[in-house]
Every structure is written in C-alpha cells, then in structure tokens.
C-alpha cells in the first residue's frame, strides 16, 4: 500500500532545544492516531508536516511530495483542524468557510456552494449565517472541521478534535470521523489525548515521547493477534484443569480465585476448553478474549 506519510530521519529544533529527533516511519493506514504525553512533540510534528516549522534534519513526504520541496502542493492536498480556537470572530460561518475554500483554490461560486454543503454536513446548517464569535465551543469545533474539509482534502489532520465537547457532541464528532473514513476519499491523522477516541477510529497508532517514536502499532493487526489471548473464570474444583489445557498446547497462568489466563496455540478449537471443564464438572463463569487495550499499549510505550 503506498505510504500516506513517510518520515525519513525527521528532526526539528527550536533554538537550542531538540523537539523532534530522527523520526522514521511509513504510515499508510486510512486513519492514523498520533499519541503521546504533553510535550511529546505531536503538535510540532503536525506543524512540521504543514510546513510551519523549519527542519533541522531529514525530511518527510506526504503522498510522495517532499515537505522541503513541494509544500504548496502538500497544502493543496491537506486539511487541518487545529487544536485551539481558530476563527475570525466578526465573520459569519458561511463567509468564513467560503473564504477558506477560496484560499484553497476553489472558484468563488464553487466555494460558496461547498461552504453551505459542509456546514450542513457537520450540523451547522441552521447556524451558518451567525457570527463565529457567537458560537459555543462545540459549534466552533464543528466550524473548524468544516473549514478543514471544505476543499475536499486527501489527508485530514485533526488535532484534538473532541477537546471540550460534551458526550453527545463527542459522539457526533466521532461519527463524522467514521463517515469521512468510510467515504474512502480521504486519509485521517488524529492527534488526541483521549485514547478511547483513537482506539475507536484509528487503524494505525504512532506513540511519541520526548520527540522520539517509542511505539508504532497497527491496531488492526494487533486486534487479530489478540484473539489468541483468553481469560477464563471457573467455579468448583479446578485441580488439573490448567495441566489438561497445557497438555493441549496452551500456555496457562493461574491468577487465583479460579481465574486462568492463557495463550492458545494456532488452530486451537475453543470447544476443547468446554469439554475439559465438563469432564471435571467445572463451571465456566466467564470466558473472554484478553485484548491489549490501547491504554495498555500506551502505558507499555511510556515505560520505554
């Protein structure tokens, strides 16, 4: 699959401080999550990809365009929703979005049409003639999303899109992200502190710490691999149960109170567990796949 973002020894320095150090990765997922603690360099990485920061070493490529040489072409292909408030208070939403569309190269008529369309799409249709300064925080977030997608970018960069949103508004934002992903017309980069948001929407995750990549994870692949990890809770005399499972090739670890954690061998039939339990007259109270959550992955990465 052709890479969407390719970091090739990317380094950024502000004065004497190294912010990003030798980042190397190739990302090709439809939705890419960018995680890391505060000050890890997530926002700097995004700003560097948009050509806002000067590189101290290496380079990056977006859809094959080098950010050192073709930043104008890249900016044509990218939509950006910044983390902080970004708007012009004394403009109506429709004229603001239209201006942004025109700056992206759309002719005035097409820009006006698209401005109306995206405002309806994000759910601000009824409020599109109101001044942006009068919008609530949730509405401002949606207006920022509208300006980011008005020109139909191939890559949409969302920096903390659910910041400050109440649960229904957050759900709405997540739904919009899913819809845009499923439309197949754009790739998304989602930078968020909320692991749940990233877990719900992303296929690939890049974790940064102190300006370095500490973990890259393909969540889709991990989800498939995690099907081999099983947790069982039993009730009754479980003597010999773990040994019997081990005899079938499972790696078992007892966790006390009738709980067992195991790694199943390839091509293992789940009914074998039920059979062994029935032979010992053992009740199975719970059986579930023990999946590494994104939180586990993130915490492990932070220990590095």
């Amino acid at each position: 699959m052709p890479s969407v973002i390719e970091l090739d020894g990317l380094g950024v320095r502000f004065g004497n401080r190294q912010i990003l150090t030798d980042l190397r990765v190739s990302l090709s997922g439809r939705t890419i999550g960018l995680l890391g603690p505060n000050g890890a360099g997530k926002s700097t990485l995004i700003q560097t990809l948009l050509g806002f920061c000067q590189l101290s070493s290496g380079t990056a490529r977006i859809f094959g365009h080098d950010i050192r040489k073709s930043i104008r072409e890249i900016r044509t292909l990218v939509g950006y929703m910044p983390e902080n408030d970004s708007f012009i208070a004394n403009m109506t939403a429709v004229s603001f979005i239209r201006m942004m569309a025109e700056l992206s190269g759309l002719p005035p008529d097409a820009a006006l049409e698209r401005a109306h369309e995206v405002l309806f799409y994000v759910g601000l249709g009824e409020a599109r003639y109101r001044l942006l300064g009068t919008y609530s925080l949730g509405m401002k977030q949606l207006a920022k999303l509208a300006q980011a997608i008005v020109h139909g970018p191939r890559l949409l960069i969302l920096d903390e899109p659910t910041n400050g949103l109440d649960p229904p508004a957050r759900q709405r934002m997540i739904r919009l992200i899913h819809e845009m992903k499923d439309s197949g017309e754009m790739h998304l980069v989602l930078c968020s502190h909320l692991l749940r948001d990233v877990e719900e929407t992303c296929e690939e995750v890049l974790i940064l710490k102190q300006g370095r990549i500490v973990h890259y994870s393909n969540l889709e692949e991990e989800r498939k691999a995690n099907k081999r990890f099983v947790e069982v809770e039993t009730f009754g005399n479980d003597a010999g149960f773990a040994e019997a499972l081990a005899g079938l090739g499972c790696e078992c670890a007892t966790a006390g109170f009738g709980r067992l954690k195991m790694v199943l061998p390839v091509d293992f039939e789940m009914r074998e567990i039920y059979r062994l339990a029935a032979e010992r007259d053992l009740q199975l109270r719970r059986l579930n796949y023990r999946r590494d959550t994104l939180e586990d992955i993130f915490l492990k990465a932070m220990e590095v």
Binding site: C53, R72, V78, R114, Y121, E179, M186
Partner: protein, 287 residues
C-alpha cells in the same frame, strides 16, 4: 443541500491560479470594512475638499462667472504644482486618520482568534497574506489621496488645454508617487502595530502616536545634540522633504537631505516588515 445528500464528498472541480489568490483577502476585508457606516461617512467627508477644489478649478475657467464677479482670469486660483501639493497634503492628513481607523482591525482580528494557521495551512504564503492585507489599506487610501487629486489634474488639463498639460505633466507623476509613498508607509506602520497590539483602540492610538512621538523625539534630539539628524525619525518631515522634491517646491523649509529622507523611509519600511515577519506566522514559539 437536500437532507438525503448529507454525506461527505470530495471536490473534483477546477482550481483558481495560485497568483490570483492574494486578492481574496482584500476582497473579504474591504467587504467587512464597508459594513461600517462611520467609515463610509468618513470617506464621503474626505472627498468634500477635492469636490470643492474641482468646483474652484471649473469656476476659474468659466469666463461668464469671472465676468459676472469681475474677477480677472488667474486671480481666482492659480492651479499649479503648489496647488496640487496643498491638496495632496490635506488628503494625506485624512489618510492618516483613516489609517488609524482601519489599520488596527487588519491583522489583529486574525491574531486575536488565532486564525493565521488556517490561512497558512493552505497554499497561501505569508508574503501573499501581507500583500493582501496591505492592498486593503493601499486601496482605501488611494480613493481619498492620489485618485481624487489626479482627477483634479485631469479636470484642470481638460480645461486649460494641451499647452498647460504638456508643461505640467510631471505634476501628475508627483501626484501619484508622493501619496503612494505616504500610503505605503502608513499601511506598513498600521499593519505592524496591528500585528503587535491586539487591542484595537490601543493599536489605533499607537499608529497615531508613532508620528507624534517621532516628531517629539526628533525635535528633542535636534535640540540636545544640536543637529538636524533627529528629524530623520520624524516621518512627517521625512515625507515633507520627499514631497517638496517631487512637487519641485522651492520654498520648502527642509532641514534634511533628500537622500537621507529616502534612507530614513527605507529603514522605517524595513523595520515595519521585520515586525510583521516576527508576528505574522502560523504559530508562536514560546521561549
């Protein structure tokens, strides 16, 4: 958009040429400025003086009027370089106040709510942004400075005949270049102040203050050090020196060399551009 069509779709239409995009910013800015009734009223006020001058020029060539009031031709008003210098000076004063009114909202409105990243994440550069914002002021100020004065020149030329026009054509050049320089320096100062001071009232006061403070400090330096070089920080005097040369005003009491005046102007422009470069950027590095 129909409700059933509310799904995301990309854009596959044509794009405008990149060179034309710096005109988008002034178009929207001017539209916003013209919503102000005060500004429209002030613009009308600024045109009253040139309108009166146009009437005077017409009457000075109207023989029946001159005959009626027993005025000799040429006695009513002498339309020459000095006349146009006076008109340009008065209009420049109006431009100064208009700048203090328009200038503060130019860049500060984008900075206050952090809108600059949204401009610069598109195929739109900082140079285009500054050019676009500057052209707003250049356009608004042109309409009250060199455009009406040039119209007065055309009226005079059409009434005075070819001989007068041929002899005084250089005045047209001075009418255009002099106010253009003044408008450019006003625009740059206004934008620099607007970029650094987000509070509009303070920015407006600072724009006015730059000229008053420059004149005050200039006079103080001249008095203390007993030199004329203090005048170089008085931009009104610097401009007066250049205009006197452009309009060939022999009676001008200039205290600085023309070359020094040009250099002072260049330094002022460079300083304003440096201030703009420091502030007009997609993000701010906090040290």
């Amino acid at each position: 958009m129909a409700v059933y069509k509310r799904t995301y779709k990309g854009y596959s239409g044509t794009l405008t040429p990149a060179w034309s995009r710096f005109m988008i910013v002034p178009r929207y800015s001017i539209a916003r400025l013209l919503q102000s009734r005060f500004l429209v009223g002030f613009r009308i006020l600024c045109l009253l003086f040139p309108l009166g001058c146009a009437g005077l020029i017409y009457l000075s060539h109207n023989l029946s009027f001159l005959k009626t009031f027993n005025i000799q031709a040429g006695n009513l008003i002498e339309v020459n370089a000095k006349f146009f210098l006076v008109v340009s000076n008065i209009q420049a004063a109006f431009a100064y106040f208009m700048t203090a009114f328009i200038g503060p909202s130019l860049v500060s409105s984008d900075l206050t709510n952090n809108a600059l990243p949204l401009y610069f994440c598109r195929p739109f550069s900082r140079t285009e942004y500054v050019l676009g914002k500057m052209s707003v002021l250049m356009y608004m100020l042109a309409l009250i400075t060199w455009v009406p004065t040039l119209i007065l020149f055309v009226i005079q030329a059409s009434l005075a005949g070819w001989e007068w026009t041929r002899e005084n054509l250089w005045i047209a050049g001075a009418i255009f270049i002099g106010p253009l320089i003044w408008n450019a320096i006003l625009s740059l100062i206004a934008m620099a102040m607007s970029a650094w001071v987000k509070w509009k009232i303070a920015a407006g006061a600072l724009i006015l203050g730059v000229f008053f403070a420059g004149a005050g400090f200039g006079a103080a330096i001249n008095a203390v050090v007993r030199t004329n070089y203090g005048t170089l920080i008085d931009l009104t005097q610097v401009n007066y020196t250049i205009w006197s040369h452009l309009f060939r005003n022999q009676d001008a009491a200039t205290t600085i060399d023309l070359m020094d005046a040009w250099n002072a102007l260049a330094v002022a422009c460079a300083l304003c551009l440096w201030l703009l470069v420091k502030k007009v950027r997609a993000f701010e590095v906090v040290k």
